[in-house]
């Protein structure tokens, strides 16, 4: 089950980078906000279709849960705006590494403390070693993005 879910996550990352490659070109033509709107609107339409035909009945609806649980999009949308503004200032390489750093640090925190109603997974020596590996990976991602900016 764990292995299957890891494979799914890797697939999710692949989907995300295909989306980024497509949206990068669309955004350059029609503007970032229009592009982001199309992405979310199309996502909502596709999900609505899937719900109509495939979602089994649920005990609770979105209206029953505490409102803070619906704030996910309020975390995703500012990310888009911040990236647009920041990439011009600090460059792609630094921005990419900073996003991943924030993502990983926060995910370790949520896991460790079990925030937002998640099951707590304690920080361990294995996780510390993983953080070191990720820091090395980030260094290589940074240096692979850096010369591109200079030649672009």
């Amino acid at each position: 089950m764990t292995i299957f879910m890891i494979c799914l996550a890797v697939l999710g990352g692949a989907l995300l980078s295909i989306q980024a490659a497509i949206n990068g070109q669309l955004g350059a033509k029609v503007g970032v906000f229009r592009c982001a709107f199309l992405t979310f609107a199309l996502g909502a339409v596709v999900t609505a279709l899937l719900i109509f035909f495939f979602e089994p009945p649920q005990a609770h609806s979105l209206m029953d849960v505490p409102k803070w649980q619906l704030l996910g999009a309020l975390c995703g949308v500012p990310y888009i705006v911040i990236m647009v503004l920041a990439v011009q200032r600090i460059g792609t390489a630094a921005a990419t590494v900073a996003v991943i750093f924030g993502q990983l640090a926060m995910s370790m925190l949520i896991d460790n403390f079990g925030w937002l109603g998640n099951t707590a997974i304690a920080f361990s020596p294995g996780r510390l070693a993983a953080v070191v590996c990720l820091a090395i990976a980030l260094f290589f991602i940074y240096s692979s993005n850096k010369p591109k900016k200079a030649s672009a």
Partner: protein, 155 residues
């Protein structure tokens, strides 16, 4: 480029750096909200909450802040509009995976997929991006990400 230390610019850059880190943290919070939500209302409904609210917010942003004369969606080739089809796949996967393997492992897996796929996209110049030779540094990065994934999986 001037080699003069500009304090104001340095502070601006630092502020943007922290903003971007906060943005990345937001992505993990989003994933952290999705898992428990999906277990209560169903995975697709949880996904819909992201895209429904996101569409409403970005509609407002587009309405007020988009450049007035940008070209229509209908002037673009159809396949360039497909980005939004892939988004729900990503969000459903977050909703399914985080309760089972935790936020950190999900995020590292996502990262591995992104780096792998961007290597493939660049190498073959897919999707109209400029063709670029496969990049040794990013292969090394991918190897370290996979090691990290294995370390987190072992606990």
């Amino acid at each position: 480029m001037l080699f003069r230390f500009d304090l104001k610019e340095a502070i601006m850059q630092l502020i943007f750096l922290f903003l971007v880190i906060a943005g990345g943290m937001g992505l993990s919070v989003e994933a952290g909200l999705l898992g428990p939500l999906g277990q209560q209302v169903g995975d697709l409904w949880a996904t819909f909450s992201i895209f429904g609210v996101g569409a409403a917010l970005t509609f407002l942003l587009m309405l007020f802040f988009s450049p007035r004369n940008s070209p229509s969606f209908f002037a673009q080739p159809g396949w360039q509009l497909l980005g939004g089809i892939l988004g729900p796949g990503y969000v459903v996967i977050l909703t399914l995976a985080t309760p089972v393997i935790g936020i950190a492992m999900t995020m590292i897996g996502i990262l591995a997929g992104q780096v792998f796929k961007s290597l493939v996209i660049d190498h073959f110049g897919l999707l109209g991006t400029p063709h670029r030779r496969i990049d040794g540094k990013r292969i090394i990065a991918l190897v370290f990400i996979v090691i990290a994934l294995a370390l987190v999986a072992r606990g």
